[in-house]
């Protein structure tokens, strides 16, 4: 059987801004049969989007296809002239972008854009195209399928836009559809619905899919075959079963390892009873606007963190977890309620807190590129808190900087580098080292692994655990990712729309009580290919809590 898509020895070059040409795809070959779903799995920088786009004969500005062949239904997209390529795009090969919100023209209605492919390639009359679009909307479980086309993109939610982008791709009846990380930007509870919709529609139309992702669990639900990529090269490829059960390549094993959830073993405190909690938050209400009271992001939250133990705060976007962290750190304009640290009540803002209080609670942010000053070297970044808090100077300070770098497992040579020269994982470690420089007792980790690749994130979590043991730290770990929180926290708080919905220990994660928690936990994809098909979620819960 001849494959629908044949990629042979594909090579793509990138021109860096200083004129150097670097090969980023180094001889990739793979086949896709008609109706088959193939997943391209890899971390960021592995080249998966670049490879997928060559199926359209497209390379982003700065990139050039320098060798090899990409045959789609017998036609080589690489050697085809541009105007012929344009004829195939949308009609034979279609693309569903990663950020659907950015891919829609804000000045055109949704319907006009969804049927645009039919207008460009003259496939059918506008009336027929509109009817077909509405059918696709229904098949993708979109709300108000008859009216949604008349809206503008900014009037529609992210999950809906993602499905509309799929409709936009499918309307031309293409033979191959590329899904580029389509659910990465969505909440976990929305993701379930969207995945189901994609699976149903593409199965029905017998469309071959290329699914690009870094999330092995998501991909396991939808793909027939998996191709593992790293550094622009294929590491391994095989069916779902083969990859999940018998991975051969060490990198694949590393990837699988990072995805396997680890449950944190709670180290029981010997004299926990009767000890004063490290942090006690009572009835905290906070928000934005004048005085921090106008728009409430957090309502009446109470929690406690014991010395040496970790609290996880989990919730989806907009639930208020970051606001809570900022209130505890003192960054907000003000809040109602009490925060007691080490037995003393904390002032509401930075001005009302003592320098020592500010020192003991440190916050680490998600995006290391904005959390580190790009104009300062690592040495200067780490040195400043040492001078500021502890008055260290000269040789003593240099020695301590070396110690900090050792603590976070970074080579000492890094001290002379600027943040722009470091990788994401290294930057996050420097971020952490800066928090450690203050010698705190409590560290607030605000989504620190969310911008990192899974393998790198797993390493950072291990580092955190190690540091906790060595330095007797406590963490408040905020995330939307349950598996990360499970791996490190002793207790978990679930937030929804500014309120605390449930308090749980990892041992009880299997049996949550609150309906939202049940929905949230059940929505997290597992590495089992049958998970999505066998998932049963209470439709009332879904209606009540998931943002459609």
């Amino acid at each position: 059987m001849s494959a629908l898509v044949k990629i042979r020895d594909l090579r793509v070059e990138a021109t860096t801004d200083i004129g150097r040409r670097v090969e980023i795809i180094k001889g990739v070959s793979l086949d896709i049969a008609g109706g088959e779903v193939v997943a391209l799995i890899g971390e960021s920088g592995s080249g998966k989007t670049t490879i997928a786009m060559t199926l359209l004969g497209y390379a982003r500005p700065g990139l050039k296809i320098s060798g090899g062949a990409v045959l789609v239904d017998g036609v080589d997209m690489v050697t085809l002239p541009e105007n012929k390529r344009a004829r195939l795009r949308g009609a034979k090969v279609a693309y569903v972008p990663q950020s659907a919100a950015a891919a829609f023209n804000p000045a055109m209605t949704i319907m006009d854009q969804v049927i645009e492919v039919t207008r460009i390639h003259n496939l059918m009359s506008p009336a027929d195209a509109r009817a077909k679009a509405v059918n696709l909307f229904k098949a993708l479980s979109l709300p108000e399928p008859e009216q949604i086309g008349a809206r503008y993109p900014h009037q529609v939610s992210g999950g809906q836009l993602q499905r509309l982008a799929a409709a936009m791709a499918l309307i031309g009846d293409p033979k191959v559809v590329i899904f580029d990380e389509p659910t990465t930007a969505l909440d976990v509870t929305t993701q379930v619905e969207v995945l189901r919709a994609f699976k149903a529609v593409t199965r029905k139309q017998g469309v071959a899919c290329v699914y690009v992702s870094h999330d092995l669990a998501v991909v396991a639900q939808i793909a027939d075959r998996i191709v593992v990529l790293r550094g622009g090269e294929v590491q391994e490829s095989g069916t779902i079963r083969e990859i999940l059960e018998a991975p051969r390549h060490p990198y694949t094993r590393e990837l699988l390892g990072a995805f396997t959830p680890k449950i944190h073993a709670h180290a029981p405190q010997s004299d926990a009873a009767g000890r004063q909690p490290l942090l006690l938050v009572e009835q905290l209400t906070a928000g934005y606007g004048p005085g921090g009271r106008h728009v409430k992001a957090v309502e009446a939250i109470s929690l406690r963190v014991e010395r040496g133990s970790n609290l996880g705060i989990i919730g989806e976007s907009g639930c208020g977890k970051s606001t809570l962290a900022r209130a505890i750190a003192g960054i907000l304009a003000g809040y109602d309620g009490n925060i007691t640290f080490n037995g003393r009540e904390l002032g509401r803002t930075i001005k009302n807190r003592t320098r020592d209080e500010l020192r003991q609670i440190q916050i680490v942010f998600q995006h290391a590129d904005t959390a580190l000053n790009p104009a300062k070297s690592v040495e200067e970044i780490l040195g400043r808190p040492l001078t500021f808090y502890h008055g260290m100077k000269g040789k003593a300070r240099d020695a301590r900087v070396d110690e900090l770098l050792d603590l976070v497992h970074l080579p000492r040579a890094v001290r002379h580098r600027l943040p722009g020269e470091l990788s994401g994982g290294q930057k996050q470690r420097v971020n952490f080292a800066r928090a450690l420089a203050a010698e705190p007792t409590l560290i607030l980790c605000d989504e620190i692994t969310s911008a990192l690749d899974t393998v790198v994130a797993a390493a950072v979590i291990d580092l955190l655990k190690e540091l906790q043991r060595e330095l007797s730290l406590s963490y408040i770990f905020i995330s939307h990712d349950l598996s990360v929180v499970e791996a490190i926290c002793d207790e978990i708080i679930v937030m929804y729309r500014g309120r605390k919905v449930e308090e749980i220990t990892p041992a009880h994660v299997k049996a949550p009580e609150h309906p939202y928690t049940q929905l949230l936990f059940s929505s997290v994809p597992k590495l089992d290919p049958n998970w999505l098909d066998t998932l049963r979620q209470d439709p009332d819960q879904v209606r009540a809590y998931a943002l459609r």
Partner: protein, 318 residues
């Protein structure tokens, strides 16, 4: 806040800012000119006037009143159409300005009528064919024109058209307009000079506006749907670039305000800018004040309109 109410309130606040700025600017103009050296009464009566005559004139002109009172009286006068009396010509300022203002408007109007279509077509096409030789030529020419003083463009135009080619006269003689070719010959050089300057600004800004919309993800998406280049530009990029382009047009036209000062001087064109430059050399206070206010008003009008167009063309607010 209801999205629909955002546009009127944003526009209103922009107009309010413009009004406040106008007040500050009129203040500045008044006090700057009030700093002019030389006692006004002495200038009017001449050096040989007696001190009593000077005192009498000062009293009758209220020149001894505190500055604030004089400022408010001046503002009140403006609203009544009383712009004061010119010192040099002893005529009401309003009658002096009237005809000249119209002359400058003719010049500005002609320049706008030519430069807007010219500059927009060049700017948009240069963005469409970014990186090509055409684009590079346009960019280099534009930067060249923007970088040099207006009088250089004027002198080069005179050299080329009047001295070497002998097509046009160097100075403009607007009083002897009898036929269409006379009109052409009188206006051609000032308009050509101004058009160069205004077009260069407009080309640069409109090219940047279109190039920015061509770099967006949704234009890339349309490309991946198989759209041809004309379709990308006309259906996807331009509708989103209209706001920034209108902004570019308004801002470039405000450049005219500076350009006419040079052009009217060098070509001896009887417009309001030349009137003001002459008034400065004769220290004719009321004339300077009124001309300056007209210029500032025009500038404010254009920049405010540019901002309002930018606000209204944001699709998220419709």
């Amino acid at each position: 806040m209801n999205v629909r109410t955002q546009i009127p309130s944003l526009v209103m606040s922009r107009l309010l800012i413009a009004a406040i700025t106008l007040v500050i600017v009129s203040f500045a103009v008044f006090f700057a000119t009030a700093l002019l050296p030389g006692d006004t009464a002495t200038i009017l009566l001449g050096q040989s006037a007696t001190p009593e005559a000077i005192e009498g004139l000062r009293a009758s002109m209220h020149l001894n009143d505190p500055a604030i009172i004089r400022f408010l009286k001046w503002i009140a006068g403006l609203f009544h159409g009383d712009f004061g009396t010119s010192y040099a010509n002893n005529m009401p300022v309003a009658s002096l300005i009237g005809g000249r203002f119209i002359n400058t408007m003719k010049l500005a109007g002609l320049t706008a009528a030519i430069s807007v279509p010219l500059a927009l077509s060049l700017g948009i096409t240069a963005a469409m064919w970014r990186g090509t030789l055409y684009d590079r030529l346009v960019t280099v020419a534009t930067i060249g024109v923007i970088s040099v003083p207006e009088f250089m463009i004027a002198t080069l135009a005179v050299l080329l058209f009047a001295v070497y080619l002998k097509w046009l006269p160097a100075l403009s003689f607007t009083s002897e307009i009898k036929s269409f070719s006379d009109v052409l010959r009188a206006y051609a050089m000032p308009v050509v000079t101004l058009t160069f300057g205004v077009s260069a600004q407009m080309i640069r800004m409109s090219r940047a506006a279109v190039a920015e919309t061509l770099d967006t993800p949704y234009v890339e998406m349309a490309l991946l749907k198989g759209a041809s280049k004309p379709r990308l530009v006309l259906r996807h990029a331009l509708p989103n670039a209209l706001g920034p382009i209108a902004n570019a047009v308004a801002l470039s036209l405000s450049y005219l305000l500076g350009g006419v000062i040079i052009v009217e001087t060098i070509f001896n064109y009887p417009g309001i800018a030349k009137l003001m430059v002459d008034a400065v050399s004769t220290r004719d206070l009321p004339l300077i004040q009124t001309c300056a206010m007209i210029f500032c008003l025009g500038y404010l009008l254009l920049t405010t309109m540019a901002d309002i167009v930018a606000i209204m063309s944001n699709p998220r607010l419709t």
